[in-house]
Symmetry: C2
Subunit: 283 residues, 2 copies
């Protein structure tokens, strides 16, 4: 790494992943298989609707079928799980994505765990989390996998580094911590109850922001030369990191937008193609 | 906590747990149910044989049935899994313990994961790990649960503390890290690739040694006033911590033996009784 600031360009990493998928999708087409991702959107949250649309469009551009299922905001857990089970049994569907978050009356964990592990391309099931933690997951959670993919693309070493993860959600903070641990980083997991957060973040060679609060990570917290990955995406296209301030101290940083986000979507597409190939292999 | 050194007496914590179990076992007996733990020992490792015997004896003293299954050192993964499946289906068996480690020809992970989650009283399955990580496990891994039980018994606060865990195994380092995280500690996970281990251990308010190397954790690594939990048990009754040297700096410490070990066994018994009660409730 040189001493200039390295802007970790998510669009570039995502394009690299998608380019590799094109030939794989073509090979599958020759066998009569079109990879298919079913997306489920519950309710009418505009941000969630945008995410689902973006994912659907990304599928189409690669020749992946996107089957969109939209459910009313009053959908019950039982109704949602029944639909997931139909998709589990539908051999034309290779991947299932339930857009997070779901309305409050739904037991999101139960709904996630209803997804068959062979179709859990978004990496949200309880079992998938543990397989990932133990290093043998078929499909790790997409955002954590995207963070690791960005580091790998830019050949930023993980082994022996001190990674500080701010956030501990089941689909982001916890799995990314364990992925970095399995790549031989020393990992510190921080959260809302952490004391002296600024000084702990300051010990990180790699800092992952996964907290869901705009511009939460401050520039003067950052160790000179640290690598910053901002997994946040808040209203107004703002990440969890105070980008301009952190850029002054970091050696490398993901912007928002065009940082972790596009790589997350590319990872979802990759997992969907993986799942379709798995099916082609099995039959 | 006063300023004197607090020796965290595992025998005392274990007795407290076992005392609470006595009345529960009696109640189950009135319903015609004897909690039953099946232990599987593969091969003839003398240390493992001792552990299994200790667990069996601890069962008997509480009125818990212990069914010991000893298999030859050449047992295959398939043979072991077939036996586990028989125990899964046996309604008289409430808990199944496969003594770790198994001979090298066996896929230990596959064998652990063959244990039905409702009988996984030792907390070794992949799914159980994730349920624990997400805070809703029926039966967390016994040693991690024992460590938390010791802290709770002595009313040592966990929330907001910086816990440093040395070790990252699937049944000890990883689950104890996530348990402490779920109790609102800030958690750092260290391992063989960690750089500056001494100085990182020195940031810990709580230090968990789970590394499997005798006297590995040095006294001068320890922050004054830290609480030390030694989950190691090496040849010659020696833990992973240099006890005498660490005692000088710590405010509280578990000895070896009579520290984490007996509480681990008591936790196993508690989970077995929990499982038997669950069955009594369901029928």
């Amino acid at each position: 790494m040189n001493t200039e600031k390295l802007i970790l360009d998510g669009a570039c990493v995502a394009n690299d992943i998608k380019e590799q998928l094109l030939s794989r999708v073509k090979l599958l087409a020759e066998k009569g298989i079109t990879p298919c991702l079913a997306t489920i959107l519950v309710g009418d949250d505009p941000a969630s609707a945008t995410y689902v649309r973006m994912k659907g469009n990304a599928c189409k551009r690669l020749g992946i079928e996107s089957r969109r299922i939209s459910l009313g905001k009053d959908t019950s857990t039982e109704q949602l799980i029944a639909i997931i089970q139909q998709l589990n049994e539908d051999s034309d569907v290779h991947g299932i994505l339930l857009q997070h978050p779901v309305p409050h009356q739904i037991d999101e964990r139960a709904a996630f765990d209803a997804i068959d592990i062979t179709k859990d391309v978004d990496g949200v099931t309880t079992l998938g989390f543990a397989q990932n933690a133990f290093g043998f997951a078929a499909y790790p959670s997409c955002t954590p996998a995207a963070i690791v993919a960005i580091l790998d693309y830019y050949q930023i070493p993980i082994e022996g580094k001190h990674a500080v993860v701010v956030g501990r959600s089941p689909i982001l903070g916890k799995p990314v911590s364990l992925m970095l641990l399995n790549r031989n980083a020393t990992v510190t997991i921080c959260h809302s109850k952490t004391k002296n957060l600024a000084s702990i973040v300051g010990t990180g060679d790699i800092v992952v922001a996964a907290v869901g609060k705009p511009k939460f990570i401050q520039g003067d917290w950052i160790q000179p030369g640290a690598v910053i990955l901002d997994a946040g995406y808040n209203e107004g296209n703002v990440g969890d990191v105070d980008y301009e301030a952190c850029l002054l101290h970091a050696s490398a940083i993901t912007p928002v937008p065009a940082g972790v986000g596009p790589v997350t979507i590319a990872t979802l597409l990759k997992h969907t193609v993986d799942a379709a190939e798995q099916l082609a292999f099995l039959r």
